[in-house]
Symmetry: D2
Subunit: 148 residues, 4 copies
């Protein structure tokens, strides 16, 4: 990330579900990617989609723009048990003309904010057929800092 | 089920994945419904779809016929741990003109075939828009015993 | 349910996650059971566990009491898409001396509260070894109406 | 990986389950990590655990050795639809004294072996309390090539 920081950032709280634990007693590893997606959803809600009823990613998809994953990376930093409350911070920017990257950090809401997981996902920007597209200007603007 | 028995039946083996366990050390309850679906997939592979490349449920969906769930019922009969091998028996019949029912029983492959779960799912027959349809005759025939 | 109604009831809101959709565009069927569990978690938070730091089900488990599923039943009543907000109502009572039953109903928060799913789960009351136990009086009391 | 190659390698076939699809019509991204785990399970079955009835990872866990994830990385390389058959190749080695790394590549069994996903997971070696341990020699030997 540049020292200007990303244009978009948000915080999301979530609780570890029983279904998300495994026999080690902590969350099962793939669940981190589902939480990352919950974070992206909330962050994309900040993107206003012109001329569309649906907001956020549902609205973006309704415009025929998909954001399929290209890369996912997770660093597992600590345990989280059933019903623990977690705080997730998500930041987004465009590292290329048809790429969006989300950086995520998850810590405990209690327990001195002990870290749980960090990582990122990189997404292509495609049409509904799956072909890469140049995103429209309202999309690009949403991911670019304008306060300079 | 009538005393003639259902037209279609099959057996499927599967292993409990680590991701399917929870902190109680057995499989998480919702996983039974995912296993039921694996069983339906194998059973529907026995249905030959006329004039279609794809076989089974993928071929049925390609013909514009969907089988959304209406009811799911699971009786949990025993524990199953990570990497246990399970044997699933699936039977299907049509209890109504636009309904398909799958009866499922899951036991341990070892451990004297100790029972793990039983239950059933009932499905509507709809077009791709979700509206109920009368299934074509090749579909009905597949679910009806002909050896009488 | 008796006409006295159950002792415990609560409401929970949740959003459909992208990971919970399937290629039919609605939530995948097994997800309903994960939502039921989110509802049970919130309802069990109303149960105060004597002499224990952890509240709710985590506190109950810390006391060596487990509530493994015996039966799960889901009626699928309508579709729910990614990011839809759902309202879940959960009620609990004890239909037997070592049984707890949770009745669940899920409707859309918007869309005129169109129904999404209903059903119930029945749970045994066991010790941490999995053997059935008679639950302690504080447990029974929590599930019994006292305003008569 | 060194040019000697890893000590352990295996191939696993799997089918995309309906529950693993999402509304984009391909597998949901977190499922790749569940498949990686299925691959690890099969590869670890090649590790003979001395003096233990259970084989593979279940046997390793029964010896009090856990392999919690430290890092997971996935490159998404192509789509895979419901019921597609996938071929997964897994290789393992120890990049450090208390670290195991699994490299995974998933391609279509048909469709000219078009790539689906690649990546790796890095695991700590810990006791059942979660504390890092030096693995016993039978463990280290299993991950080291001996044909030199």
């Amino acid at each position: 990330m540049s020292d200007r920081g990303p244009a978009l950032t948000c915080k999301v709280d979530l609780r570890v579900r029983y279904s998300e634990t495994d026999q080690m007693g902590t969350f099962y590893n793939s669940r981190a990617l589902e939480w990352f997606e919950v974070g992206r959803t909330e962050l994309l809600r900040l993107v206003s989609v012109p001329g569309n009823e649906a907001s956020g990613y549902a609205g973006i998809e309704a415009q025929g723009i998909m954001l399929p994953l290209v890369v996912a990376h997770v660093d597992y930093l600590g345990r989280a048990k059933y019903d623990d409350v977690l705080e997730m911070t998500v930041q987004a920017h465009m590292p290329g003309k048809a790429r969006v990257r989300f950086d995520v950090r998850i810590v405990h809401a209690d327990q001195n904010h002990a870290p749980v997981a960090g990582g990122y996902t990189v997404h292509a920007v495609t049409g509904s057929s799956g072909k890469p597209i140049r995103p429209p200007s309202w999309f690009v603007k949403a991911f670019t800092r304008t306060d300079q």
